[in-house]
Subunit: 345 residues, 2 copies
Amino acid sequence: MTQPPKRPLTLRDVSDACGVSEMTVSRVLRKRGDVSEATRRRVLAAAKELGYVPNQIAGSLASQRVNLVAVIIPSLSNMVFPEVLNGVNQVLEDTPLQPVVGVTDYMPEKEERVLYEMLSWRPSGVIIAGLEHSDATRAMLKNAGIPVVEIMDVDGRPIDAMVGISHRRAGQEMAKAILKEGYEHIGFMGTKMPLDHRARKRFEGFTEGLAKAGIEIEDRAFYSGGSALAKGREMTQDMLERSPELDFLYYSNDMIGAGGLLYLIDQGIDIPGQIGLAGFNNVELLQGLPRQLATMDACRLEIGQAAARIILNDTLDEPDPDLQTQITLTPTLSLGDTLRRNRKV
Amino acid sequence: MTQPPKRPLTLRDVSDACGVSEMTVSRVLRKRGDVSEATRRRVLAAAKELGYVPNQIAGSLASQRVNLVAVIIPSLSNMVFPEVLNGVNQVLEDTPLQPVVGVTDYMPEKEERVLYEMLSWRPSGVIIAGLEHSDATRAMLKNAGIPVVEIMDVDGRPIDAMVGISHRRAGQEMAKAILKEGYEHIGFMGTKMPLDHRARKRFEGFTEGLAKAGIEIEDRAFYSGGSALAKGREMTQDMLERSPELDFLYYSNDMIGAGGLLYLIDQGIDIPGQIGLAGFNNVELLQGLPRQLATMDACRLEIGQAAARIILNDTLDEPDPDLQTQITLTPTLSLGDTLRRNRKV
DNA sequence: GTGAAAGCGCTAACAC
DNA sequence: GTGTTAGCGCTTTCAC
């Protein structure tokens, strides 16, 4: 780098600096077409010397191709979506594609805005959480003319591609597992989020699963805001004071479940003998608690990977025509230490 | 929306649809200049009817202005950076600016790559974690011709603007607080990350702080990978078996600190009487533990906000010339329940 | 293997 | 208030 330029450098500057046409410089920088080794080296040297950074805005406009993948998720702080992003990143790592993340805070209007802004960059594909969207959002997605992968959930009809698990099914499975261990008096705690459709579906599946055995949830509570761990603690205390007959607590996520677990340990309550517990998500972060909370993983990493693969495939010169675009993954139940009343050891 | 178009719509399509020049359509869509209310409505109606989404690629190229802010951070899973992003988002929320996040995984070469890719989109500014960068990275940052805010840390010389705390100072303060409570046999646990400069500086500050009182760390351990909570648990057990004389454990982050805390509670050890504990970061997530871990907050939200404000100011028609661009924030120490041996209640 | 011309979809600047 | 012209910095296409 000779001198800090005030105006961003252009291809032209590199061209001038090494006496080669802009076109050839462009070819070298994009590693396309045949360029003699000699000129290639000269160009590269000049570009480096000047500190040239290509202008993708101009490049994308000219080539009509943008190597961006829009990833639209409800939240970052949640522990679940960063893991999905990791999956996406892993797959796109050594490709020209780059993920760009937008966050909706579980708000449909914000989802609409964020999508609109992302589409205005003409990305190569969209990965978006959930199957429930506003009409406007669905319309944009349909008309964008690019691959759209709806992720996390498969209980519904996708616009295009879909990768996820059945949360309804997950709730049912958990109900079955709990009943199998002989628990009968069941309480539920979750987020007060009418817009978290996946949590809702899990809850519905759960009650359905119980209903098959003629059992109903005996108490329930919902929270919003605050530290999930603290909320789990408080809510558990409240619920047990209110409904001391309960012998199982199902939490809509691992964090509040962990709060409950810590509270019960504090109280010296026998887990899972007197009371059993389960959460959802298999949050790695929680390994290291005094007991392992029973949970179900949501296949977050795999979902991110599969979604990215679908988008990627579509940008390939020869896309794999057999690549599945509607993928249902199966969550694994971990009994941990809090859901095995009938220990047979 | 009448029909799903195969080719993305252009201004021209809207122009045709409502019998108004492209230029006027453009003005309406960008809410610029004077347009009669009547035509304004016609244009808006047509655009909505067609489902037109503007092409920012073309727009940015023409206007030579890109409303993107590059935010480059080491990690997403860390709990600390999502909070910084929240701060950035809050400030940019109702502005034309949009953050775009890149993750480096604490790797200088990746930082270089990510920055290069982001700069190729010609963003309006860069927010980047840390003051330590490769020569190439520094050169790119210097020559980019846009505002650069280095965040998190102030122990060093910034390229341009800087917002953060002194981690060295934070370590010293913690040492002082610990000594003041009468602890004398101190162990340290942290990540094995030669590239986490802020953790390193905290550690250095900490040992300096102890040294002033003629005290040295008596044991130390470093980990990498895995669940921090579990690691904290294991490492604490190991360290106390190895060095049973220790009466204080300082952890480089709250998560391993929490693991240690849970382990010690398990063991029925008197906290903070027999052993005191402290972490770093003031992670909200941990509220709800049986005891509150002593910690120091890193002003993550404020850092994100201040950094965003600096970039934003620069894009304004009339920037505030007095806006501070080198900001040192002061972390707050929370004693919690694990650092008050000399209780005076 | 290299270069020249055209144009991607929009906006700045100016004319009316 | 509205339209016209030129051109942003690249890549596509085609000529040599």
